[in-house]
């Protein structure tokens, strides 16, 4: 079932196409999906001009991703588009898991307050992309070229040359850095002969977006072996504009073409919903895959998002991890381009996001195998888990209908290991936690205060430090010290960071903790900063 594109953009001839030789750019991004667009915005905000090439000129023929995680929303806040995303999306944090006709358990992904962003929003991927396109268009320094299809790449030690096909014919450009955000079927990956290895799951899944009015709570609903779809699984999510996503397991032998016929889809959905008052918006049948390339960095060509790794959708780890890739790469590339950090810093992108990809693949593989067991033995184990889950908490914890995307924690040479004793808090390598603070009689969130630069969160007061790189100072105190110090009135910062007066957290520009100190000392902070920029690098 094809649907009409919702957003149409125009091809526009670039002056580069009239040049005799290839024009030169510092950074060229290939692919204007959620990942390439987020990267272009991040780099442009850091003052780096980019060319962004995409082979299409429209979005919205069908939706793919729908669930966007808290960390992604915090990153999009930094990119200036968190508000429209959250305003348009539906917010959720609760889920229900059913077995047969019965509710097995409920979960709450964010039971505590003091966070600006919810655990998740659901939003059609085409809306996400459209907000990103609008933001990219509003920023100076982003040259977005629709209907520019990259057909070849010739890399060399200083960069690469790209061959591009357009409605006006071919041309080429040279770039110091090429960032491949061209999705699972990446042309750049293929042209460079890089293997995309992993697993294809046997089971097929019907994904349908339907329009219907329903008075159901906004929550994730998952069924194992429901009465309306016996022996298989079902998943249901609300999206904005009365659109619902339904995901039905079809088994390994289903005939995908047959299953996509509207009358067949409608019959399956009517059995599920108990009525047929809905319209089909979009229908597709998928066989999910978990794959990655071994190295995300190939000289001056860097892979981000689906071109580098692919996961099954259980856990919503696809676009969410791609946006985290971008947040990890952008500041590093900016420091390397301004020669404030060695080019080897880029290798830590591969290391850190490689860990994240492994984590995401591990989780989504476990979930997919739980939902669609490989053998009779695995099915028995799974069914026993579900049966025991009604009686025993340990089994409930093993029921796996998808482990939803959270921020990755990096085990990285950029982190300075703890030298002091900490009772919890946010360890080096982990992403910052939000907290609600007060200043001048107003409430505000820590994630809003921390800019995408190196930041020192100081408990109590700011000390004057002379550091080799600019570092933002943010002072937070449990007692009200007037408007220059943020007031941790609800003790959320103290609790979430195990913060005691005089301690400090050094945050990297992507909001991950680089180091933490019980007592601020300039030499230690300077060393941690230099380490976080890859200047005093141990081998990666």
């Amino acid at each position: 079932m094809e649907r009409k594109p919702l957003f149409q953009f125009a091809y526009c001839r670039s002056p580069d196409q009239d040049k005799r030789g290839p024009a030169h750019h510092r950074v060229v991004i290939v692919g204007a999906g959620p990942v390439g667009l987020s990267l272009a915005i991040d780099l442009a905000q850091r003052g780096i001009a980019v060319v962004l090439l995409d082979n299409a000129d429209r979005i919205g023929e069908g939706s793919r991703g729908i669930c966007y995680a808290k960390r992604t929303l915090e990153i999009w806040d930094r990119l200036g588009i968190g508000d429209p995303m959250v305003a348009k999306g539906v917010t959720w944090r609760r889920g229900k898991v059913f077995r047969g006709p019965d509710l097995l358990y409920e979960f709450d992904l964010l039971p505590e307050g003091g966070h600006k962003r919810p655990a998740f929003i659901n939003l059609q991927q085409y809306h996400v992309e459209n907000f990103l396109v609008a933001r990219a268009a509003a920023l100076p320094g982003i040259d977005l070229r629709w209907r520019n299809e990259v057909t070849d790449i010739v890399p060399d030690p200083a960069g690469a040359e790209l061959a591009i096909e357009t409605p006006d014919g071919p041309y080429s450009v040279r770039a110091d850095w090429v960032i491949a955000c061209d999705g699972t079927n990446s042309t750049l990956r293929t042209r460079l002969g890089i293997e995309f290895a992993g697993e294809t799951f046997e089971d097929q899944f019907l994904i349908a977006d339907i329009k219907m009015r329903a008075d159901l709570p906004t929550e994730r609903r998952f069924w194992f072996d429901p009465p309306f779809h016996e022996g298989r699984s079902a998943l249901m999510h609300r999206q904005p504009e009365d659109i619902w996503r339904i995901d039905l397991q079809l088994g390994p032998k289903a005939d995908a073409e047959e299953e996509k016929r509207p009358e067949i889809v409608r019959a399956r959905l009517a059995a599920m919903l108990g009525h047929d008052e809905f319209d089909l918006e979009w229908v597709s049948v998928y066989r999910f895959q978990c794959r990655r390339i071994e190295n995300f960095v190939h000289g001056r060509v860097v892979f981000c998002g689906d071109s580098a790794h692919q996961v099954s959708p259980f856990g919503a780890r696809g676009a969410n991890s791609g946006v985290q890739d971008v947040e990890n790469l952008a500041w590093k590339l900016a420091l390397v381009l301004s020669q404030e950090a060695p080019a080897s810093l880029i290798a830590t992108y591969d290391l850190e996001r490689g860990q994240a990809a492994d984590d995401n693949i591990r989780h989504s593989t476990r979930s997919t195998d739980f939902i669609a067991p490989h053998s009779a033995a695995e099915a028995r184990l799974r069914d026993a888990t579900l049966a025991l889950a009604r009686h025993a908490d340990f089994a409930k914890r093993m029921v796996n209908s998808g482990r939803l995307s959270i921020a990755s924690v990096y085990h990285t040479p950029l982190s300075t290991p703890d030298a002091d004793a900490w009772n919890g808090g946010v360890p080096p390598g982990a992403a910052m936690q939000d907290a609600m603070l007060r200043q001048g009689g107003k409430s505000l969130y820590l994630t809003d205060i921390v800019a995408p630069r190196f930041t020192l969160l100081c408990a109590q007061h700011v000390t004057t430090l002379t550091l080799p790189l600019p570092v933002e100072m943010v002072a937070i105190s449990e007692t009200d010290r007037g408007s220059s110090v943020l007031h941790d009135a609800q003790h959320q910062f103290a609790a979430r960071y195990d913060a005691t007066p005089g301690c400090a957290y050094l945050l990297r520009p992507d909001g991950h903790v680089a180091a933490r100190f019980r007592n601020i000392a300039e030499p230690a902070i300077e060393a941690a900063l230099s380490r976080a920029c890859g200047k005093t690098m141990l081998h990666v």
Binding site: S375, A377, L381, H391, A392, R397, M398
Partner: protein
């Protein structure tokens, strides 16, 4: 000491996965044999008849065909 049914693994998914992977590549018959061997090994590790009895009762209840048969 009564049977502890709370989640005792810090990463329950990893424990589950270990069992799944132990079955990979086995025939169904071999899988059943593996399960039996595993049960005996773990029962011995527990080393307590009262707990084993409780674990067996819980498992019997869990696999009972209808909801009424279960000891909910």
């Amino acid at each position: 000491m009564p049977l502890d049914t709370s989640a005792r693994f810090s990463d329950p998914d990893a424990a589950y996965r270990l069992i799944v992977e132990a079955h990979r590549g086995l025939s169904d018959d071999e899988s059943r044999k593996l399960d039996a061997a595993l049960i005996l090994t773990l029962a011995n590790q527990i080393g307590d008849l009262a707990i084993l009895r409780e674990a067996l009762a819980l498992s019997r209840a869990a696999i009972a065909p209808s909801k009424d048969a279960a000891t909910d």
